[in-house]
Amino acid sequence: MDEDTVICRCEDLTLKDIREAINQGCTSMEEIKRATRCGMGPCQGRTCLPLVAAELARATGKKADEILPCTVRPPLMPLKLGTIAGVDDG
C-alpha cells in the first residue's frame, strides 16, 4: 500500500496521515481517532478502523488482536433527528 492510499474516506485521511499520528506519539486507536478524526465521519469507522488497527499493530510490533478497538458509540446506524424526535411522518 503506498502512502497516498486513502484510509478514511469520510475524513479524507491517507496512510501518510495515520503514520504521522503514530510518529507523533499515538500508541492507541483512541489517540489516533482524536488526533486525526479517523472514524468520526458518517460511516463511524466501519472501513478505516480495521486498517488503522493493522497499521498500528505493524508500527508497534503488536499482534492485531492486541490492539484495543475504539469505543463503539450509539446510534449503531445513522438516525434522522425527525425520527428520533418522533415527528417523522415518512
Binding site: E31, R37, M40, Q44, R73
Partner: protein, 381 residues
C-alpha cells in the same frame, strides 16, 4: 520514570498540558505531566468545543476575554493548527425577563471590552438563517466568540511543552500525594515515586479524588453531560446557538457536522459516561423546535463527558492555604476548555511566584468556607 521534578501536574487534558506549556515558557522546564489514560480522554475530548465570552460574572468575562486573545495567536505560537475560528455565539432569550438579564450581562461584558450586543429576532435570523424565530423576544450576540478543535488544542499545548523539555507520562495514574509539615513532598504514581515540592491538580472530573489524596475537601462534584453529532452538511450557519432556558447548545463544526448538547437538571452526581436514548430524543425535540429544517439530518454519534462543578459555577484556582505546594485548576463547571489559555497562564505565573495577568484570589478554595461566593448565572449544557 524520572525520580524528581520541580512541578508535577496531575491531568494531561487541556488544563494540565497548557499549564505545563506556560510553565516551560516562563522558564521552568523540569515539569512532569501524569495522565491516567491519554490526551483528551476526559472532558477536553468530550466537550462542545465552544469559546464564549458572554458571561454574567466579571471574573468569567475576564478569563474568557483573555483566553480569546491568546487563542487568536495560538496556532502560530504552538506551531500546530488548532482550527480556531470566530463564528460568534448567539444566545437565545425565551422571555422579556431573560432579555433584560442579557442587557445587564451585555453592559458588563462591554465594560470589559467584549463586543457583545442585543439583537432583534430579524437580526438573529440574518446571523443564523435556518433559525426559527417565532416567539423569540430577542437574543444576545458576540461576533468574537467562536470555537477550536479541543483534541488539537490539547495536543498543540502538549507537543509544544514537550519540545521545551516537559515530560509526559500517559497511562500513568497518580496514586497518592506525600506530605510533611504542611508541605507537598512527592507524588506516588502507578510507575513509581516522583519527589516534588509542587503538585497541580488538573484532574478534571476527578479533582475531588486528587484533593482527598492531599487530605483536602474540594467541594467539586462530577455530573454526566451528553452530546451528539450529525452527518456533515454544506455550510448553514457560523455561530454556536445556545439557550439558558432549555440548556441547549448547537453549532456547525468545521467538518460540516452539527454538534449539539444539552444538560439534564435531574442528572445525579456521578462519573457515569454512558449514553442514553432519553437524551437523544429530548435533544432532537429541542433542536427541532429552533432548527426545524434539520429534521431529515442524521445523527451519527453520541457520547458523554463530565462537568466538574463547584457550588458557584466558577473554577477553583491557586494554592491551597492548608497545604503548601498544592495547586488547583479545577471545577470548571462545563467551561474549562474555553478559558484554559488564560487560566493556565495565571497558574504558571503563580507557580513561579510571579504576578499573574489577572488576580484570581477570589477563586481560592477557601472562598467556600468563608462564604464568599459569586454565582455565575450563565451556564449552559
Amino acid at each position: 520514570m524520572v525520580k524528581g521534578a520541580e512541578v508535577v501536574i496531575i491531568g494531561g487534558g487541556i488544563i494540565g498540558s497548557s499549564i505545563a506549556y506556560y510553565l516551560a515558557k516562563e522558564g521552568c522546564e523540569d515539569v512532569v505531566i501524569l495522565e491516567r489514560e491519554y490526551p483528551s480522554w476526559g472532558a477536553t475530548g468530550r466537550c462542545g468545543a465552544g469559546i464564549r465570552q458572554q458571561w454574567g460574572t466579571e471574573m468569567n468575562c475576564r478569563l474568557a476575554k483573555g483566553s480569546v486573545d491568546l487563542f487568536k495567536d495560538l496556532s502560530a505560537e504552538l506551531d500546530y493548527d488548532i482550527e480556531f475560528a470566530q463564528g460568534g455565539y448567539l444566545v437565545l432569550a425565551t422571555s422579556q425577563t431573560q432579555l433584560e438579564q442579557y442587557r445587564r450581562n451585555v453592559s458588563l461584558q462591554n465594560s470589559l471590552g467584549i463586543p457583545s450586543k442585543i439583537v432583534t429576532p430579524q437580526e438573529a435570523k440574518e446571523i443564523v438563517p435556518i433559525l426559527r424565530t417565532d416567539g423569540l423576544p430577542g437574543a444576545a450576540y458576540c461576533p468574537t466568540d467562536g470555537h477550536a478543535n479541543p483534541f488539537k488544542t490539547n495536543l498543540a499545548y502538549l507537543r509544544a511543552a514537550q519540545r521545551l523539555g516537559v515530560s509526559f507520562y500517559k497511562f500513568t495514574e497518580a496514586k497518592g500525594i506525600e506530605m510533611k509539615g504542611g508541605r507537598v513532598r512527592g507524588v506516588l504514581t502507578s510507575q513509581g515515586r516522583i519527589e516534588t515540592a509542587r503538585v497541580v491538580n488538573a484532574a478534571g472530573g476527578y479533582s475531588a479524588q486528587i484533593g482527598k489524596m492531599a487530605g483536602l475537601e474540594i467541594p467539586t462534584y462530577s455530573e454526566r453531560h451528553q452530546i451528539m453529532v450529525t452527518e456533515p452538511l454544506d455550510h448553514l450557519f457560523d455561530p454556536m446557538v445556545i439557550s439558558f432556558t432549555s440548556g441547549l447548545y448547537c453549532q456547525q463544526v468545521p467538518p460540516g457536522s452539527i454538534l449539539m448538547g444539552m444538560g439534564d437538571p435531574d442528572e445525579p452526581h456521578s462519573h457515569d459516561l454512558s449514553s442514553s436514548w432519553q437524551f437523544l430524543q429530548k435533544m432532537a425535540r429541542e433542536a427541532l423546535k429552533i432548527l426545524p429544517i434539520l429534521r431529515d439530518i442524521r445523527v451519527v454519534r453520541q457520547w458523554a463527558g463530565l462537568y466538574n462543578k463547584t457550588p458557584d459555577a466558577q473554577p477553583i484556582l491557586g494554592q491551597a492555604e492548608k497545604l503548601e505546594g498544592f495547586y488547583m485548576a479545577v471545577g470548571f463547571s462545563g467551561h474549562g476548555f474555553m478559558i484554559a489559555p488564560m487560566v493556565s497562564l495565571i497558574l504558571a505565573r503563580l507557580l513561579m511566584g510571579r504576578e499573574p495577568p489577572i488576580s484570581v484570589e477570589r477563586l481560592s478554595l477557601e472562598r467556600f468556607e468563608r462564604g464568599e461566593l459569586v454565582i455565575e448565572p450563565s451556564v449552559v449544557g
